[in-house]
């Protein structure tokens, strides 16, 4: 039995004991009356990172009656305050506990699951710490800032036998599922090529002056394992345009349209064998991730995939698979189109490939916590999706064609490029032992 599940039952037992001793304070909801969820079925959750994405994730979980949010953690007291207010107003009490340090949060809270919505440079240390606590994890994409960190998260998830769901929510949206199912069942024939369009980068903000850190923000903790830099007013959200923390639009969106491309190809467990392309970077300012990018991947079976910013793509954003019988394109906004529109109405019969179906990304995670089955976007799938983005980034930063061994997950014969597979941490931060 999974130990998270064990803890869960342990807690249920103590709740039952409590009920025997102090029956007068048991609210009716604890007994599962009036359509509420009894404690034995509840999933006790907390969030680390409750900024913009963290808030929308938490709000999504709060809609589920079987979820009980008990604590939130962030390095910004304004985030914490807003999140606590949301949780407390949901339950009509003042019980949500707050933390500014994830280590204390993990030490004190007894949770079943945690939702992580953090800047990429923090993903690895916190995800591994949570996995080591046997917490099931809903973790934002991209899986990690570097491939080695992503592998560490994967190892921690497997070692601790926890459930992992990646925030690649497009997998739980009908048009993407439908498109993938049609492609996987050969409706456009054998696939030879995929085009992936992700957003363009934006205009430079220059180099803003160094300013005092706002009172609510623990800047030192926000930086954590990243190199120390003076505060210039950029932290939440806009970290994604700075290479110390992110790979820009490319890595931000790799967990969406590249993830979908892999899903359609049936490549969730593998990666390209060569990656080659060019990036265009801002000349001025603190934002230094690629504003344009365009690279080609070749897979072992000869399938090719081109990833580029939308303005470089004929069809802009989204994923298009090209097969020997035609093409099929999916994008946000329920877009699904094909060279032969008739195939879009075709049924997938019982004898054909049935692609994993989820209609709600958070619900899928919650169901898997109970069933102990794999989610629709497990950790290794996320690792393969972000690896394409990160290898593209390495090809562009080095100006070199990268040869990749997808089985060993190693760059072949290129020491310089291999160094970019990991990011050293600033002391005292280290990756916890797995």
């Amino acid at each position: 039995m999974n130990s998270s599940r064990r803890e869960f039952l342990k807690r249920s037992t103590s709740a039952a004991v409590g009920a025997l001793i102090l029956p007068q304070i048991i609210p009716s909801s604890a007994l599962g009356l009036n359509g509420t969820t009894p404690p034995s079925d509840r999933i006790v959750m907390g969030s680390i990172g409750v900024g913009s994405q963290g808030t929308s994730n938490m709000n999504a979980f709060l809609k589920f009656k079987q979820v009980q949010y008990v604590a939130v953690c962030d390095v910004d007291t304004k985030h914490i305050q807003a999140a606590k207010e949301k949780v407390d107003s949901t339950y009509g009490n003042k019980n949500c506990r707050t933390y500014g340090d994830f280590r204390e949060f993990l030490e004190k809270e007894k949770l079943d699951a945690v939702c992580l919505s953090l800047p990429d440079h923090w993903h690895s240390i916190i995800a591994v710490s949570c996995a080591n606590k046997k917490l099931d994890i809903y973790g934002e994409k991209p899986l990690a800032r570097s491939i080695r960190e992503g592998q560490a998260i994967s190892a921690a998830v497997h070692k601790n036998n926890i459930i992992w769901q990646t925030g690649s929510w497009q997998r739980s949206v009908e048009n993407f599922h439908r498109g993938v199912e049609l492609v996987r069942n050969g409706r456009i024939g054998k696939i030879s090529h995929v085009e992936v369009g992700l957003p363009d980068g934006g205009r430079s903000i220059g180099t803003p002056p160094v300013i005092p850190v706002p009172e609510e923000l623990n800047w030192e903790f926000w930086l954590g394992p990243a190199l120390n830099v003076p505060y210039r007013g950029v932290s939440h959200w806009n970290w994604r345009w700075i290479q110390d923390y992110s790979g820009g639009q490319l890595t931000d969106w790799a967990g969406h349209h590249i993830d979908i491309a892999h899903w359609g190809l049936g490549f969730d467990g593998t990666g390209p064998v060569s990656i080659e392309g060019k990036g265009v970077y801002p000349r001025e300012g603190i934002y230094n991730t690629a504003v344009e990018y365009d690279f080609n991947c070749v897979y072992k079976d000869g399938t090719t995939m081109r990833v580029a910013n939308a303005s470089r793509q004929k069809y802009g954003m989204g994923t298009i698979w090209y097969g020997d019988k035609g093409w099929l394109r999916v994008d946000r906004g329920d877009v699904i189109e094909a060279s032969d529109p008739k195939i879009l109405n075709e049924k997938i019969s019982e004898n054909e490939i049935q692609v994993y179906k989820s209609t709600n990304h958070q619900q899928n995670f919650l169901e898997c916590i109970k069933s102990r089955k794999e989610t629709i976007t497990p950790v290794d799938t996320a690792l393969r999706s972000i690896s394409v983005g990160l290898l593209g980034e390495i090809a562009m930063l080095t100006g070199q064609k990268i040869q990749w061994n997808p089985e060993k997950q190693e760059i072949i014969d290129n020491k310089m490029a291999s160094r970019l597979l990991s990011r050293p941490y600033r002391q005292p931060w280290v990756l916890p032992l797995i």
Partner: protein, 405 residues
């Protein structure tokens, strides 16, 4: 003054001619100027410099007679040139000159129509067919449709109205519409152009024309709200025409930001080579602008590596990192060539050793060395291990370098 320019230009052109003879592919370029509602006295020598510094061209400037004077003396032998660059918006040429020019193009001559050249010659049918689209000079629906982009598609719009307009000068984004054409291949698809007039509402025959790049004419700047053509190519007979609406050079202006723009310069140089030959052999400069910001070149030319390095050392990179960026892009362009990378590594180690280089410059260098540093930089990194300002970055670099033996 004009005579002086002509004389100097000729003299310089002769010098260049002898120099260029040593080059393999020296095209002959003729810049036609002498009348314009713009500052042609400034722009034509700049255009000549731009062509000559590619080392692909020997360029001669020819001035027409002044406005209202006898044009019969303007009768160049176009056929002697591979490309004719038009920086001209003035009196009609003589019949004889017009016929010679049309023959030249029909027989495969190259033409570049620069900025207000598309204002010229409203009544010369063949000329308008060559430039595709024009503006002002009384152009209306009689001269052809408006052509622009809307929602990513090219529109031919026969609505009656004036041809040619522009709002206030401003920086604007140029968007490449054909990334595979030799002129535009390899350029960022979006780049911020330095302050310029954004030519709009151009109309003309637009036959055998392809728009290579557009810019959105923002209504907030007095624009049309359309994506207007900025760069286009036209074929006429066997001739190739490159039409750039960019590069305003105003009378009385002290600086010419549009002409200093590395985007204008590069597309002008590439477009002219293509018009002359049908191919483009020039590399794209390491600091070509993109959507993040403009790039202007002082004296209309890029900095050499030596100039960049001399600037990096004394530069406050906490305010601007453009020289470091230029070095970083050279590293990327080296495509892993060990010898070239080592030469850059040596430069970076020099920066680390320098007492004048700023801490921020050194931090930048250490991040770069973390992936491309060889054994060469290790002793210098070790020396800096105890530096209070740099120890984290040094550890970062050393850890990463030593992670892969």
């Amino acid at each position: 003054m004009k005579k002086n320019i002509l004389f100097t230009s000729l003299f310089v052109a002769i010098l260049f001619f002898f120099n260029a003879c040593k080059e393999k592919h020296a095209y002959k370029a003729l810049i036609v100027t002498g009348q314009n509602n713009h500052n042609w006295q400034a722009s034509s020598p700049i255009l000549k410099q731009l062509l000559d510094q590619t080392k692909l061209f020997t360029t001669i400037i020819i001035e027409t007679p002044a406005k209202g004077k006898d044009m019969s003396v303007f009768n160049p032998d176009f056929a002697k040139y591979d490309v004719v660059v038009l920086d001209y918006n003035g009196d009609a040429w003589t019949e004889k000159t017009r016929v010679a020019f049309v023959d030249y193009v029909k027989n495969g001559g190259g033409v570049v129509a620069y900025h207000a050249a598309d204002n010229a010659f409203v009544n010369w049918k063949e000329y308008n067919e060559m430039i595709g689209l024009g503006g002002w000079d009384g152009r209306t629906e009689k001269d052809g449709p408006y052509v622009y982009f809307k929602d990513g598609k090219q529109i031919c719009d026969s609505t009656p109205g004036r041809g040619g307009s522009h709002g206030a000068r401003h920086e604007f984004t140029v968007q490449i519409r054909n990334t595979e054409h030799p002129i535009t291949k390899g350029l960022p698809v979006k780049w911020l152009h330095a302050e310029d007039e954004l030519y709009s509402q151009l109309r003309g025959p637009a036959r055998n024309m392809e728009i290579l790049a557009t810019a959105y004419a923002d209504t907030a700047k007095g624009g049309t709200g359309r994506d207007e053509p900025m760069l286009s190519i036209i074929s006429y007979g066997k001739g190739r025409i490159f039409h750039t609406t960019l590069g305003h050079c105003g009378n009385g202006d002290k600086t010419f930001p549009a002409l200093e723009c590395a985007g204008f310069i590069t597309t002008f140089q590439r477009g002219t080579e293509w018009a002359a030959s049908g191919v483009v052999t020039q590399n794209i400069p390491v600091d070509f602008p993109n959507s993040a910001g403009t790039v202007q070149w002082a004296e209309y030319k890029p900095l050499s590596l030596d100039e960049i390095v001399s600037k990096i050392e004394k530069y406050d990179v906490s305010k601007s990192r453009k020289y470091l960026y230029d070095l970083q892009n050279r590293i990327r362009y080296a495509e892993g060539n060990a010898e070239t990378l080592l030469s850059y590594e040596k430069l970076m180690v020099k920066i680390l050793e320098s007492n004048e280089a700023t801490i921020d410059a050194k931090k930048f260098v250490l991040r770069e060395l973390s992936w491309m540093g060889s054994d060469y930089c290790i002793p210098q990194l070790k020396k800096l291990e105890s530096s209070a300002d740099l120890k984290d970055e040094v550890k970062f670099a050393l850890t990463r370098i030593q992670s892969i033996k």
